[in-house]
Amino acid sequence: MRWVRPVSAGVAETADVIGAKAHGLVLLHRLGLPVPAGFVVTTPACREFLRTGSFPAGLAEELRTATADLETRTGRRFGGGDRPLAVSVRSGAGVSMPGMMSTILNLGLTTEATAALAAETGDPLFATASRRRFLSSFASALTGTDVDAPHADTEASIPEDAADQLTLAVRAVFSSWNTPRARTYRRLHDIADDLGTAAIVQAMVFGNRDGRSGTGVAFSRDPNTGEHVPFGDVLFERQGEDVVSGRAPTLPLRALADREPAVWAGLLDALRRIEAHYRDACYVEFTFQAGELWFLQVRPGRFTGAAAVRVATDLADEGVLTRDEALLRVSPHHLEHVRTPRIVAPDVDVLTRGVGACPGVAVGRVATTTDAAVRMAADGPVVLVRPETSPHDMRGLAAATGVLTARGGPASHAAVVARAMGKPAVVGAGDLTVDGTSIRVGGRTLGEGATITIDGTSGEVALGRPRVATGAADAHLHRLLAWADDVSGDRSARGEAQRLRDAHAALRRD
């Protein structure tokens, strides 16, 4: 086949051709880890599509062949039969960028296939919910809007035939390469405009199948501290993006150990194997269906700040890296972040976790409106807590010591303003609601005036005043810098970043 490759251990092409995500899936296959059967439509096919406006000759036929192959491998029929096959479709460029199409789940759940899935599982509610999810995720992908937004018109235009749905989805992935946001991102970061994206098609595994199903994300080490403990979130009986989107309250990863010990054991084993391959901390996305674990994505952990220092020194101690390699793993820029105040475990009563949008820790009393923030700030620090922020909140933001919002990402208005004012900010705390003068979070209700602490690096929101430390990785940092001085031979007094820079310079000379 010219335009399509099965995702398997034997694929030799680079991420330029099959995209970074599919490249990760190939790695998972090679490590012998469970990956749902699938294929990838390559970036050259996308480039042809973008050049001519239509699929290159032969691609339609190859999609049919690849789908038939997927049917054979799964023992299922796409869009119908007694055992219907549903797939996910994801974009996968060489580098991920904002504005690209996100995931379409449950594609192929036509009316007929949904009825068949209900009959096969004996669970019509599951089948119907999965079809709803397909329609809303497809409509949101086609319109580039949030999955929860109303899309009745777009949903009505989704074709009923499964093969037509797949064609439309692949076209949508390819077209999303040229959204204005993606173009802007490429211009800012010097990424060539003509690379194109791959599209990954994989047999669905359903995290919403039953009580022994779910979905999650995991780091092999704690991305906040670098400590060698698995870290992440899990959601039982939910699908795909729910964990990342913050749409539902998640459980800490360890909840798997009690509820699904086999999944937990499989996950720990996989994290070990992936770490051994990368020789670095790693990140995975996974789903488990009826107690069976599957991996959907993998990449290196890409830790920053104190966590990067800790992982590099630990890996050197474990004999995974040489000291020289450990030094090169840490960028001098990371050291500036080591000095940012952070919430430190233990004894932290974490209410929820959002996205850290402006680093630093803010401790203050909850204020739910700008007026309250201004009024209360006269008596001591306040944290402004809002569903999202508008220009109305500027005065509240100015009065507050930090800001917490339920909606929005690191590029939201709240984040932009918080950074402009240098205030710690946590945004997109999914299970936070603001009702009048109280907030509900982590299953608890807090009135205005309750003291909370937010960590704008990790995104943690904690009750009360947990211990806050600046440069918690001191022991690790000192060791790393001692190694740096050994390499550079320079023991004069100078800044930490400079000591590391000198070591890098010496290592690069050798």
């Binding site: 820029h333 220009p391 590029a411 303003v417």
Partner: protein, 203 residues
């Protein structure tokens, strides 16, 4: 074709507080294009009517003022028959909004060795690249604003203020991008709020 009616100064002042939140006379003057004595005089009349208050140095709407603004702004919209145009413009605005936010983020944070790092504005070529993208976005927003001001002339203030902010930023006043009450980001956010308020869409 008749010219669409100009909004009265008292409604301009009232609506500026609706779109900016609590603020001082100077900011209302900048938002409305009125001189400060006119703004102050209107604010005093509005305060007497119970529509605005000045609890702590800044002016803001009362509940009654918010309701009065909603009533008069809706009335203006319907009288001008402008709802279809404003609705269409709002949809185009929403397509541009994520780009604005991406650009503000790029202005403030810059990945260095893969780490988002505060942009210290010590690399003029990077800043120039970001400002070029702002200018490109501004040209596309200007088309949306032109449609708006053709039916509701008060919207003409926005492209003027936005372009002025960008011109000043390009000339070296870097705070005019995201860090000032006259900044591109702030004026953009006011326009966003204005469109929501004008169409009666709750946040």
């Amino acid at each position: 074709m008749t010219r669409p009616p100009e909004t009265g100064t008292d409604l301009l002042v009232l609506h500026a507080l609706r779109c900016c939140g609590y603020c001082g006379v100077a900011r209302v003057a900048a938002a409305t294009g009125l001189d400060e004595p006119t703004v102050e005089s209107d604010l005093i009349d509005l305060a007497v009517a119970g529509h605005v208050v000045r609890p702590s140095g800044a002016w803001g709407l009362t509940e009654a003022g918010r309701a009065e603004d909603a009533r008069r702004i809706t009335d203006e919209l319907e009288t001008a028959g402008a709802r279809p145009v404003v609705t269409a413009a709002y949809e185009r605005f929403l397509e541009l909004n994520p780009e604005l936010l991406d650009l503000c983020t790029a202005w403030q944070l810059r990945p260095v060795d893969g780490v988002p790092t505060v942009n210290r504005h010590d690399d003029p070529s990077y800043d120039a690249r970001v400002l070029d993208l702002f200018a490109d976005l501004d040209r596309r927003l200007a088309l949306v604003c032109a449609d708006l001001s053709a039916v509701l002339p008060r919207f003409a203030r926005y492209p003027a203020r936005l372009t002025a902010a960008l011109d000043r930023a390009t000339a070296g006043e870097l705070e005019l991008v995201t860090d000032d009450i006259a900044s591109y980001h702030t004026v953009w956010a006011e326009l966003h709020e204005d469109l929501l308020a004008t169409l009666g869409i709750p946040r």
